[in-house]
Symmetry: C2
Subunit: 457 residues, 2 copies
């Protein structure tokens, strides 16, 4: 890629995509196994490059330029990371083909059939952060779903991702899939140029901060499937069970506070302030969760005698901005509201439309909450942490989309396909619309019950 | 709307959307009937306003500022336009509710159920051209699918659309749906301001020229479902039947040349140049179609003796730009290529990925074409003019999307919904993710066979 040219990269990707349209699902699985072999063969070389990336990053950490947390994410030698990266390829290979399925089929007229068929989107431009294994993960997803991909990782992992991409191309070179089907690029300037090429690139998938996603949306005509922040809430309804409340709130907050599906806001129905709230607060404080409380919830805790342990050190009044903050650590903002309606309104204004949960024993409240809350996930008596592609049963995860068009919430392989309509006339003289209309032929629109297109080879 | 403020309009639309989330499908149908009544009651007033719009437009036409074709589109008094506009409301009211359907359901664990449920998108900003009845059409679609909408018509129809919107609001005021659920705006400046408000507006639907769509895509972070040009092709394969070729090519070109699904390019397999091409050309010339021919197709016609009628006046050599031109009239660009592969490549480079058709008797060629052509519609022995929501059996049409994300090709009510995930734990102490993992509980992921969410009221 030394003689870089965004136009060349993008048009090569589009050509590779189009050429690969006739390649079978079976050959795509074979390609994934070839990539697996190729990566295994390059393991030593790649892990050495990764050590170099790590050393360079350590220098940057010492200089205070990047965070220590990034080092962990960068390290491919760590624990079973390499093995699970490789296993991930085989897992994706073994998933059902997301293309070819018919979601609508109709006989428009005798011998005129229409099929809506799942098919790849085209060329994906995927922009992600430090973790180099994402290259392999996304390449697998793209190949399995029949999309070409251009990948841009964090600059700290350049040595690693370059070799990973090289090994992927080497694997592809043993198959009928073009080598340029998966390409890796290195610099942010390249991304800017690629974002202008909507004639070649069909979808941009940024996985990172809100500002990364917004910045990309501001600079491209290409559709963006953003994976950004999560500001999730739990609402304890007036009919809440205390055990469920304690367990779900605690899990939502402490299971993995840095995740986008961790909860940041706790909303209390005013009727539970002296009943359910104290035991919930007790459990949170014992787990070292800092509580930013509105006056009512704070007052309820102040009235308790004796005070809950850690009350003095961990409980403080909230500022208004607290309810719009993704804490990403052991901090929870707490507010008391008079009704489920006001709680729904509050969530719709303050949450990021990611995942929100209600604790309630009432079916009516559960229904009202799930319909009224305008989020990708609306849960009843379950932790917000369940919002995840693997937990949902998709077998893999492209990410968690914070958009609401095309794919919303946890995205599996299905999020990487679109559809096309195929129509075939079997009539002796073909089909024309001029034969239909008032006083002429009428459309039948008879549903056809089929999962595949019969004439596709 | 005299004290205009884009922020007020957009936030009012979002509030109206959220408030209406708990309104039942039945009440939305009632609202459509109220709108129908309200429009009937205002008929005289609206048609008078329409005459004023027409008079003003006639002056503009005489001054050469706008085209005469626009007058036709503006006229609500013309033929059965009013009646069919009103009937359209009842038709939409009678369609199945596009929301509430479950497309994925899984038992993640004993007593933990996950549902993917169709739901409205949110606030739609719809920008369209002269035809004022689109206000009523889009308002009906938005209400039926549970979306709020902000509508901007062509400035030539302002008097008409203002009164149409007023009658719609009057209808809504008799229901539980907020009056600001449907709002009409008047100027382009308002659109520019609204395009910045991605916190309130969820989808922009421009229906117009390519340049309108691109201009909007360039100026917003909000997802855009564009409805732009169509550059469709018919490919006559080496195994084509001559009757089918003549009928389908003619219908694709002449049935309604100004439509986006009319054909602009005709591609001939080189083996049919002296067999199928002459009768096809004869039929086209007799229908007064101007043919812009590449050297091979031109030469084949020149060799004919006697010459086809109209040959001298209607046949001429093509310029390269002809194959990238949406003629929208009785003009067809013709090119000869050596194989189906080169035809597919040509279509993928020159067509607008709208709808393309192959004429062939070969199942292999049909399959190769339908898989290889990267368009929303790939047809076999059928006219490109079939690409249409009504013909596809959707009962209505939002438009024909030229994007490939979310909704592609003709868009019915389904294109105006997204989905959310609902999860409910029925376990005695709720569900938390901390209970799952190595050595702990495992996910069941057992498919649930249901079309609805059992706990939704």
């Amino acid at each position: 890629m030394s003689t870089f040219n965004a136009h060349d990269i993008a048009s090569a990707a589009k050509t590779a995509f189009q050429e690969a349209q006739l390649i079978s699902s079976y050959e795509r699985v074979v390609a994934l196994h070839e990539i697996w072999k190729s990566l295994e063969a390059s393991k030593t070389e790649i892990l050495l490059a990764n050590e170099e990336d790590l050393k360079a990053a350590e220098t940057e950490v010492k200089a205070g330029n990047i965070s220590g947390a990034l080092l962990k994410r960068l390290d491919l030698n760590r624990g079973d990371k390499w093995d699970s990266m490789l296993q991930g390829i085989l897992d994706v290979a073994g998933l059902p083909d997301p293309t070819g399925n018919v979601s609508y089929a109709s006989e428009l007229d005798d011998e005129l059939e229409l099929y809506r068929v799942a098919c790849p989107i085209g060329v994906l431009l995927v922009i992600f952060e430090a973790r180099p294994e994402v290259v392999v993960n996304i390449a697998s997803l793209a190949i399995k779903s029949g999309n070409a991909a251009i990948l841009k990782g964090g600059k700290e992992s350049n040595r690693t991702t370059t070799l990973l991409a090289k090994a992927i191309s080497a694997g592809l070179s043993k198959t009928s899939i073009p080598e340029l089907y998966i390409q890796a690029i290195q610099t942010r300037a390249e991304v800017s140029s690629l974002l202008q090429l909507d004639q070649y690139i069909d979808l941009v998938i940024p996985r990172g901060s809100n500002s990364l996603v917004k910045n990309i949306q501001n600079n491209t005509r290409i559709p963006v499937m953003g994976h950004a922040d999560g500001l999730c809430s739990v609402f304890i309804d007036e009919n809440a069970d205390v055990t469920k409340a304690v367990r779900v709130v605690l899990d939502s907050k402490i299971d993995y506070p840095a995740a986008c599906n961790a909860s940041e806001n706790l909303i209390l129905h005013e009727s539970v302030v002296h009943t359910v709230w104290p035991p919930v607060a007790k459990a949170l404080l014992e787990a070292n969760v800092k509580l930013l409380c509105d006056p009512t919830s704070l007052n309820a805790l102040e009235q308790l005698s004796p005070k809950l342990s850690n009350f003095q050190t961990l409980v403080s009044p909230s500022e208004p901005a607290a309810y719009d903050t993704e804490h990403l650590d052991l901090t929870l903002s707490v507010i008391v509201l008079p009704s489920i309606e006001s709680a729904i309104q509050f969530i719709n204004s303050h949450s990021s439309h990611h995942t929100d949960s209600i604790i309630t024993e009432s079916d009516v409240a559960a229904s009202t909450f799930c319909r009224g809350v305008d989020s990708a996930g609306t849960f009843v008596n379950a932790s917000t942490r369940f919002a995840d592609g693997f937990r949902y049963g998709f077998g893999t995860e492209v990410g968690i989309s914070t958009g609401r068009i095309h794919a919303r919430g946890p995205v599996g392989l299905d999020g990487l396909v679109t559809y096309k309509y195929m129509m075939r006339s079997k009539a002796p003289s073909g089909h024309i619309v001029g034969e239909f209309g008032t006083g002429k032929k009428q459309y039948k629109h008879k549903p056809l019950n089929t999962a595949t297109v019969p004439f596709l080879k």
